[in-house]
Symmetry: C2
Subunit: 177 residues, 2 copies
DNA sequence: CTCGGTTTTGCACTCAGTTGCAAAAGGTGC
DNA sequence: GCACCTTTTGCAACTGAGTGCAAAACCGAG
């Protein structure tokens, strides 16, 4: 139930076509909820059918650009969702399973993979830091909306830092740092 | 592709029936890869068909307990998987989307939900700490297998601590801590 | 204007995870 | 032994996400 609300949010920030949404997802919302263009088009169709968004006028046709905007019902649905209650989704971390498997059958070949993951996390961390420097020069003094957006980014930064530190620790445990 | 390997690992630690596996998942592997009994039975069937595990002798019958053990091919497959390369799965964090939605339509009702999440994370953290105190009195001096198992738990502890701290920070941002 | 490449939209299929439910065996009280 | 409850196994249908691919419109070169 998250993708439709992510799309509503993005459309409220700026009415867009499916392809624009896809591009914007790739550089912001997608960090915490990736989506392909196929998913997005499907969801736009459902949202339109549910009368939460509407396409700006023009003859509907395949291959023809369609710009969407959020209707009042959509805004209301989003507001409800913000206040709704939903449990955190279960953690699913294949790397933990692999460590556990390694504890049983031996850790042959594992260290290299851990280093690769550390590298990937480091790259993502650098990307987040860039965005932070560019878009949030003074988060503390900003209005609530901006402070919330910064909090999201801060979560990403914190997570990546955590994984990098943890991976380094495990590599130490394997005598391979 | 993770569940079958999780099951192989669990069966190597101790041959079990489907129901036993389900129970063991609930208190250990399931923290990082939850699975229902239906999933587990389905996967046991596939693993048996692939000749990676076998049921201990006895007439196969529905409703009748079947104990499984890992075959050499299964152990080999697991070893390969430990050394395999697999990208971290994309992050999917609905709470981040809700913050972002809140930045657009207002944060009405959000703080309560954040407190609830903080509470849930605190409970899980406490559970992890209990396990740590009970099962890992001296992780540093233990053999590699045990150190790896402790690293898994340490990841869980670190994650929960991180979320608790971050949620507290956001609540502060909302002027609601 | 028409041909070919690009953009934009969208369908169809697969796969993993979730939920609901039922069938077969085993155990317990009468 | 039989009536009933519990344990254990398993099927079936659904949902959300991922992948491949194609159709319609658009656009620039000649």
């Amino acid at each position: 139930m998250s993708l439709p609300h992510a799309i509503l949010t993005a459309l409220l920030e700026k009415p867009s076509s499916g392809l624009e949404l896809t591009r914007r997802f790739d550089k912001s919302i997608g960090f915490f909820w990736p989506a392909t263009h196929q998913q997005i088009y499907r969801e736009l169709g459902r949202l339109e059918e549910a009368a939460l968004i509407r396409a700006l006028p023009g003859p509907p046709a395949r291959g023809r650009r369609r710009e969407y905007e959020v209707l009042d019902a959509g805004r209301a649905a989003l507001r409800d969702w913000v206040a709704a209650s939903e449990d955190p989704r279960p953690v699913r971390e294949p790397l933990m399973l692999r460590l556990r498997a390694a504890a049983v059958v031996g850790s042959e070949g594992l260290a290299e993979e851990l280093r690769r993951h550390r590298q990937l996390h480091a790259e993502r961390l650098a990307a987040y830091r860039d965005i932070e420097a560019r878009d949030f020069p003074d988060p503390a003094g900003a209005p609530e909306g901006v402070r919330l957006q910064h909090a999201i980014l801060a979560a990403g930064i914190g997570m990546e830092e955590f994984w990098i530190g943890w991976l380094t620790g495990v590599l130490g445990t394997l005598g391979e740092d």
